[in-house]
């Protein structure tokens, strides 16, 4: 076999470098393009009254105040349900089942399949189960619970892999000190897995805040101020969808709403991160 010359190898190396740099550039440029488009077309319409007032004329004028409130309420319901259940299942999977047993593998595969299901299917499920079967109707509660179902699989998987990656020496150390299993989990393992939990939560918040399809059939379209969790409320993503698809002349408001949505997601993520950081550092350092 003829040996390849050094210059040939160098050329192949250079081609490869250029190729992967092009991929990275493509992703970055796409992201900047999308964000730039929204900022340029949306930012100029942002005023204080836009953020606080009720929409009027099907959203063409007025603001998004009530929609922001509905969005945040839906998100609170979703996270309030998903975080405790998700952490519980993750702890159970990583600490109470035999790793790689048939049962835990089955649960793991199920979660992976659930994580890949399109959100519209969650929407139909939420409509059938929460809205109709449980009688919650088109409401913030059924929307939030549907979103919780949607973000649970990925949240559980991230937390579980974080917990499984925790150094086993710490488990043995806690055992050898006569610490109960629950104390070891609560005081040692969960704080050690904090980065993974934060990552899972950020993924969840991102998906839940940006969700449209799962909410159309569950929390509905009503753009009035919700009086309770049992009222219908329109989420920001649904509002954007409605403005750009169904309302002629709603483009400006749609861009402005998209701008608010992206800002909201960034804000929520940084807040969640700093809150959890603070909470865990209390567990880690405070006495």
């Amino acid at each position: 076999m003829p040996s390849r010359s050094a210059s040939n190898i160098r050329l192949a190396d250079q081609c490869f470098s250029v190729l992967i740099m092009a991929c990275a550039a493509f992703v970055t440029i796409t992201l900047i393009w999308v964000l730039g488009d929204i900022v340029i077309k949306g930012a100029s319409h942002i005023t204080w009254s836009f953020i606080t007032s009720e929409p009027s004329d099907a959203g063409r004028s007025g603001g998004i105040g009530t929609i922001l409130v509905s969005t945040l309420l839906i998100l609170c319901v979703a996270l309030g349900a998903a975080i405790p259940i998700g952490l519980g299942v993750a702890v159970w999977l990583s600490e109470f089942t035999v790793q790689h047993s048939r049962f835990s593998n089955t649960v793991g595969t199920t979660l992976d399949v659930l994580a890949g299901i399109p959100s519209i299917v969650y929407g139909l499920f939420g409509n059938a189960f929460f809205s109709l079967y449980l009688g919650l109707g088109f409401s913030i509660l059924s929307g939030g619970l549907t979103l919780a179902c949607m973000i649970l699989p990925i949240f559980i998987r991230t937390c579980e892999s974080g917990l499984s990656a925790v150094n086993n020496d710490w488990r043995k150390g806690a055992q050898a000190l006569g610490m109960s299993r629950s104390a070891a989990i609560w005081h040692v393992l969960l704080p050690a897995a904090a980065p993974a939990i934060i990552a899972g939560l950020i993924l969840g918040i991102g998906r839940a805040t940006a969700e449209t399809a799962a909410l159309i059939f569950t929390s509905g379209y009503v753009d009035r101020m919700p009086g309770s969790l049992l009222d219908s409320g329109r989420a920001l993503a649904v509002h954007i969808y409605d403005l750009s698809m169904n309302v002629t002349g709603g483009d400006n408001a749609a861009y402005a709403s998209a701008f608010v949505l992206i800002t909201l997601i960034i804000l929520l993520n940084t807040t969640a991160q700093s809150l959890i950081d603070r909470w865990f550092s209390q567990r880690i350092y405070a006495s």
Binding site: V98, N167, D169, W170, K172, G173, A174, Q175, A176, L177, G178, M179, S180, A183, H187, V188, P191, A192, R283, I284, Y285, A286, S287
Partner: protein, 278 residues
């Protein structure tokens, strides 16, 4: 601040070396102890007494069941689903291996130090506080006192007293291991099990930890697994030599450390300590 854990100014704390253990009072009485993992027997019919206040070294080649032996003594083998332990270990007139043994209480009385230092990824103070809280010491003041005493005992106090709230993982390996020893003795155990506590440390840190172990003699009954024969000779009062016969670990010889090294009774022991085997 630059820490110099190995500086010559290093002083150990207040633990006073206990009385020499010339009177062998059994603290643990082990009879016919066998350990199986699934179908594989790793330790076969081991019987010996561990004497109170003494340091007993377990020596022998890798894989001869020393660590398995050690982890039966505080029932760490319980966590291994396919481990099967038979025989008896008498401690305070109770057989540790009985199913009704309160494992959490047992581990408070029999502490363990691992080969790799394993401080929790928490602050130095919280590492010591957690076990105290777990075992019901509610008063913050008492906990603070105990933490200071334990850190003084292992010679860490003057090195870390100004940064108790920083992460324990930022300490050097030797400091981490001393912190782990402090975390074990803060519960005032009677027996300390040590699984090669110096083997992951550099020679100087290892020397410091070894000095500390010698200071524990008298106050604590120490059982130490070591591959370092010179260390066994330096620290131990008693030595137990394990060997593997047909892939099954067996106790070959047990006796006073000096006797075992100077006048071994068994030819395997003689070959192992002279370096001809193992």
């Amino acid at each position: 601040m630059t820490m110099q854990p190995h500086s010559p100014t290093f002083t150990l704390g207040q633990i006073e070396q206990g009385p020499p253990c010339c009177e062998p009072i059994p603290h643990l009485s082990i009879k016919g102890l066998s350990v199986r993992y699934g179908a594989q027997t790793v330790l076969d019919e081991v019987s010996l007494d561990i004497y109170k206040g003494c340091i007993t070294a377990l020596i022998g080649p890798s894989g001869c069941g020393k660590t398995s032996f050690l982890s039966t003594l505080n029932k760490m083998t319980d966590a291994i689903s396919h481990a099967h332990v038979t025989g008896s270990i008498h401690f305070d007139n109770n057989n540790i291996l009985d199913a009704q043994t309160n494992v959490l209480q047992l581990r408070r009385r029999i502490g363990m130090i691992f080969q790799k230092p394993n401080p929790f990824p928490l602050s130095i103070e919280r590492n010591l506080e957690l076990p105290l809280k777990e075992h019901g010491i509610k008063s913050r003041k008492v906990r603070k006192e105990k933490i200071e005493k334990a850190l003084r005992d292992v010679g860490l106090w003057h090195e870390v007293s100004d940064r108790l709230n920083t992460s324990a993982l930022a300490l050097s390996g030797g400091q981490q291991q001393r912190l782990c020893i402090a975390r074990a003795i803060i519960l005032e155990p009677e027996i300390l099990l040590m699984d090669e506590p110096c083997s992951a440390l550099d020679p100087i840190s290892s020397g410091i930890v070894e000095d500390l172990i010698i200071r524990l003699r008298g106050d604590y009954t120490v059982i130490i697994v070591t591959h370092n024969l010179a260390q066994a000779k330096r620290v131990a009062n008693y030595a137990a030599f394990f060997w593997m016969k047909e892939r099954v670990g067996k106790l070959i010889e047990f006796g006073q450390c000096q006797h075992l090294f100077d006048t071994p009774q068994h030819e395997l022991t003689a070959a192992y300590i002279s370096g001809a085997k193992g």
